[in-house]
Subunit: 432 residues, 2 copies
């Protein structure tokens, strides 16, 4: 395995067209730092070449990666010549930079923290079709956060029960019903029946409330052919969205859905089930920030960024970093978090969805942290309301309106019984 050191050149100045990746490398006892760093650059690009038949393939160096920066605590940056990659092929790009390198004995752990995507690669991906502005236009809602809810229990209800919950939360004041990540086309609630009935009740709720309502329908399927058939069915029935489990379906399917949704006029909602398997350990794996950037390139319109106060592990700085990188056009480098500068060019922003164990009493805190260009997703925090889903939705809408009007929740609850009940039930911490 000679030659790893040859992949380290701290005097190298990356070309503007290079892809830059920040990694944190654990160095095993038997390796030098330089060899461990070089091993990552080697395995994630051309492999060892120095001893392979001499210098016969000298030109291969043109696509070799280089470690060009090393900081404290194992942090390094690697530059990849852009022509190393097939520009718009996410599966190929990740098979390079996030492939075998995670499993090498030459590193004791490896964290891919962030990627600076060069212009040629950014341009080779479609990005979101709608983006935040396009989604707001669907609803005619200019400023307030949009609100969604996934029925609980997650699975097992009949189609009628599930759709009824949609009706309850729409008429209670929420914008969007959402399928859960593990609801697709099961016997107890078949896909086509669910779409038809839910959209019928959606129409009814729209009439009654005078507001636009919609439904995030999970088209996650056995094959992409079937996924697209389901997406077409949604479009034909008058839906606005296809939802997909982006990680368990896979990156190639996500881009496939995006390309076809351009014709179908459907927006894409991305659920990130499985991410904790590879992003939870801060010293190993693929960061949630990188996932957010990948799905922005691939072109989803909405993405779950978690919350720092819910039931899922989701550090505050991570939530904020992901929000920044999926919504801004230019991002500055953050040396503390090892997040890289980014220029997203014309790529539209992704609507970030705060989710995971929220309830109405937490809404003011969430807005203080994330602002109003977000979506708020409540599951148990709506349906666990002592008076049921409809009351839960009323409480959530009231909590949000109060916050936007500068009122405290105590004040608002005086004129909203459902909010009062929610606060009695879940408690409420006044934001600092």
């Amino acid at each position: 395995m000679a030659g790893y050191e040859d992949f380290v050149d701290l005097s190298y100045k990356p070309a503007k067209s290079d892809m830059i990746v920040s990694f944190r490398v654990g160095v095993p006892g038997w390796e030098t730092k330089k060899r461990a760093w070089g091993a990552v650059a080697s395995e994630s690009s051309i492999g060892t070449w120095a001893k392979v038949v001499g210098l016969k393939y000298e030109h291969v160096k043109k696509v070799a990666a280089k470690v060009f920066w090393a900081g404290k605590d194992g942090w390094i940056k690697i530059a990849y010549p852009v022509d190393h990659f097939e520009y718009g092929n996410m599966a190929q790009i990740l098979a390079s930079i996030a492939g075998n390198d995670f499993g090498m004995k030459a590193v004791s752990s490896l964290r891919l923290q962030d990627v600076k995507w060069p212009a040629k690669i950014v341009k080779a991906f479609p990005g979101p079709q709608f983006g935040i502005k396009g989604i707001r236009k669907i609803f005619g809602v200019k400023k307030r956060p949009l609100m969604l809810s996934v029925p609980k229990p997650k699975v097992g209800m009949t189609t009628k029960e599930h759709a009824q919950i949609g009706y309850d939360i729409w008429t209670g004041g929420l914008d969007l019903l959402k399928d859960d990540e593990n609801l697709s086309n099961q016997k107890f609630n078949p896909f086509e029946k669910r779409v038809k009935l839910s959209l019928k009740l959606r129409d009814k709720a729209e009439k009654e409330t005078g507001e636009k309502k919609s439904y995030l329908i999970n088209v996650t399927a056995p094959t992409t052919d079937e996924m697209l058939r389901r997406a077409k069915f949604v479009a034909r029935e008058g839906g606005e969205y296809a939802m997909i489990d982006v990680i368990t379906s896979g990156w190639t399917s996500v881009r496939t859905l995006r390309e076809h949704c351009a014709d179908l006029g459907l927006a894409i909602h991305a659920h990130r089930a499985f991410h904790g398997a590879f992003d939870r350990n801060p010293k190993h794996g693929f960061s949630n920030l990188a996932v957010g950037e990948v799905v922005r390139l691939l072109g989803v319109d909405q993405y779950h960024i978690g919350t720092h106060i819910g039931k899922m592990v989701s550090p505050k700085h991570e939530v904020l970093d992901v929000q920044e990188h999926i919504t801004q056009q230019k991002v500055r480098e953050n040396p503390v978090e090892h997040c890289l500068a980014e220029d997203w060019l014309d790529t539209k922003p992704v609507f970030p969805v705060a989710s995971g164990g929220l309830q109405p009493g937490l809404i003011p805190q969430i807005i203080d942290l994330l602002g109003t260009e977000i979506m708020l997703q409540l599951g148990g925090g709506v349906h666990g309301h002592p008076k049921g889903s409809h009351a839960g939705a009323i409480a959530m809408r009231a909590a949000l309106e109060a916050k936007l009007e500068g009122k405290s929740l105590e004040e608002a609850s005086a004129s909203c019984k459902a909010l009062q009940q929610a606060m009695d039930y879940w408690g409420y911490t006044r934001p600092r």
Copy 2:
């Protein structure tokens, strides 16, 4: 978050139709074991239901998961009613059992070790089209391990250089040329040009050697439409295989490829780039054993199982477990490794590929460990030969034939200069 305990019932006897999953659960200081275990069963099935609108949805329990066994060191088994799932939808199945549960605060770590796939689910997947027998028939090779090699450097060579290496290794005695995981359709070596030239040289090598030769062509692409277009191109040009980066492409794409390869008559070779991001830590993430089972169900014909003696982290017991579960029809429970019993019914076996830092001197050890129903993949261990790829292939074939004839490599090297050179260069450890 009440109700987690309700998902633990150690008196429950799983139904034959249940899916069983073995997990290792890390319990945070603030949780009881029972609550942490129950949290996994809850989040990976119906979510909390006890406090959600009373017992209105009592029938939902029919698809709820149950922790029914708990052992030492955090190991548990969970039973999932089969109707919880859309039988043939891997993305849905994993979004349940390997979804949000990895990220919950209620567990400090979570390892999904193995899945016992119930018959209804096994039958809903295609499995391999060719399997080991079908692949052996392509080559007319009944007993010896098949041998493959991926050119090194991994990427950056011209099409002509890359194809020439194919010719060199085929005529040196290997069966299969393989693209590397990060070679797809880059400027320096475009896909169609590579397919055409390589298959032309393949035909030439076949004529010269009188042996069947083939090429594992990476069809990993930006979308499944393009992936299928590339696979069709391969079939039209006379190839026998489509290779895919199964994890970075994603499970839905893999099954899509499998369905179309039935018509195209192509076998599928699976590369597992990215797996180390989620399977390296034995206490967290998704095991490599589970990946092997997933790709057997989805229907790849060949899968990299690693080696315990190469450059990648790949414990011996893991390599053997994966080999057993992807090649046998019935597998017994292994309580030490927490691997579950399995009945694969009519699902064909996957040809396991030993790979990652092998060289000719290691072949006897590998055969002693894994037997002869395997494929041997050598990269640098062929192309790093002091006399080049052709000599490297001769050395590899000679090492294999020697082992099969019961000769030592020292003995064989007396009549094979290339093998002698390989052993001088890389060294050789006589197997115990």
